[in-house]
């Protein structure tokens, strides 16, 4: 059965719609922010090719601050490196050849990856792809609107959008992942590692380093 014919693909698509609206609004703010730095075309191309909010904002901020391409690339890669451990978590749930698995990996965004997690290391890839699908046009069209129409919505922070995603991750953590024992311990350790590193490392590093908390899984039960 193809991935898109799977029932959980539609379930993911429906679950993804409200977050696509949030992605659209954030996409507008990216277009507004990036247009003075890189002109009208590049922000749209960047959104279409990267589809990675935090890395795009970070790279644009570096360029806007007068940093060169190398510094912007490093900032962006640091933020996107979390897709490494996220892909590792997803991998055991994937079937098919390497090309198919690589393609499914491209559908990873924080929101859909988290939504597809079923606990105990299992993921639902069809749900993840379905949940990502509405966000892609939302993000790219948002950039177009931001570049062309400018500051229609003002500051997205005024809408509380920056609290929406951490609350979403908290909900998934509480509902799906926070089983007593090792999963709960891994969550607490991951949070502590990240918090400890935030003041001392570039953005992105705390999240990647937090995945080291999973190594407690090596110990004897």
């Amino acid at each position: 059965m193809s991935l898109t014919a799977h029932p959980s693909f539609r379930e993911g698509f429906r679950a993804g719609l409200p977050y696509a609206v949030a992605g659209f609004l954030l996409g507008i703010s990216f277009g507004v922010l990036a247009e003075p730095v890189m002109g009208p075309v590049a922000p749209i191309v960047m959104s279409a090719l990267l589809f990675a909010g935090s890395a795009q904002f970070a790279a644009t901020a570096v360029l806007a601050g007068g940093g060169g391409a190398v510094a912007a690339i490093v900032a962006g890669i640091l933020l996107n490196l979390r897709y490494g451990p996220m892909g590792v978590a997803l991998a055991p749930s994937l079937r098919g050849g390497p090309a198919r698995r690589a393609a499914i990996g491209q559908a990873m965004i924080d929101f859909s990856w988290a939504a597809a997690s079923r606990g105990q290391g299992r993921f639902d890839p069809a749900l993840m792809v379905g949940a990502t699908l509405p966000s892609y046009p939302g993000w790219v069209i948002g950039a177009v609107v931001g570049v062309l129409a400018g500051d229609l919505i003002g500051d997205p922070d005024a809408l509380g959008l920056d609290a929406l995603f951490p609350a979403f991750f908290l909900a998934l953590l509480v509902e799906g992942e926070l089983r007593p024992g090792r999963p709960a311990l891994a969550a607490v350790l991951g949070a502590l590692i990240a918090l400890a590193l935030v003041p001392f490392t570039p953005a992105g590093v705390p999240i990647i380093a937090a995945s080291a908390a999973a190594l407690i899984g090596l110990g004897r039960r």
Binding site: P18, V37, M38, M46, L49, L50, S54, A55, A58, A59, L63, A64, A69, A72, I73, G76, N80, L81, R82, G84, P85, M86, G87, V88, A89, L90, A91, P92, G96, A102, G105, D110, G121, G160, D162, A163, P166, A167, L170, A171, L173, V174, E175, A184, A187, G190, I193, A194, L195, V198, P202, A203, P206, I207, A210, S211, A214, L215, G217, L218
Partner: protein, 111 residues
């Protein structure tokens, strides 16, 4: 705010596009499609809770560009969501409340 040179912009976009695609493909390509040893599977099963918890605290308590920990209106919003979840509430009301409380707190506090 500086206008970046066209070269710097397009090099940044090109390299980041390729790097991001490779990073997203790496885990699925290298580790997918086969049975993993039990010890590896035991570690991988804990990556999701560790990363989710890190995403929660980093996105609640730090700025997107990094730097010092900050306590602002997001703490109220995410905290309200936590209370809803703790009382047995479901995902969508909790998430909506987080955004609403944060927005309201900003409006009231004039941030």
């Amino acid at each position: 705010m500086n206008v970046a040179s066209a070269d710097a912009v397009w090099i940044t976009i090109g390299v980041l596009a390729v790097a991001t695609a490779l990073i997203r493909a790496s885990g699925p390509v290298l580790l997918g499609g086969r049975e993993l040893p039990a010890r590896a599977a035991g570690v991988i099963a804990l990556v999701a809770p560790a990363l989710l918890a890190a995403l929660v605290v980093v996105q609640t308590l730090s700025e997107p560009e990094g730097g010092e920990l900050v306590v602002d209106e997001r703490v109220l919003g995410v905290g309200a969501a936590g209370v809803v979840l703790w009382r047995g509430g479901t995902l969508l009301p909790a998430v909506a409340l987080a955004a609403a409380v944060t927005a309201l707190a900003r409006a009231v506090l004039g941030a």
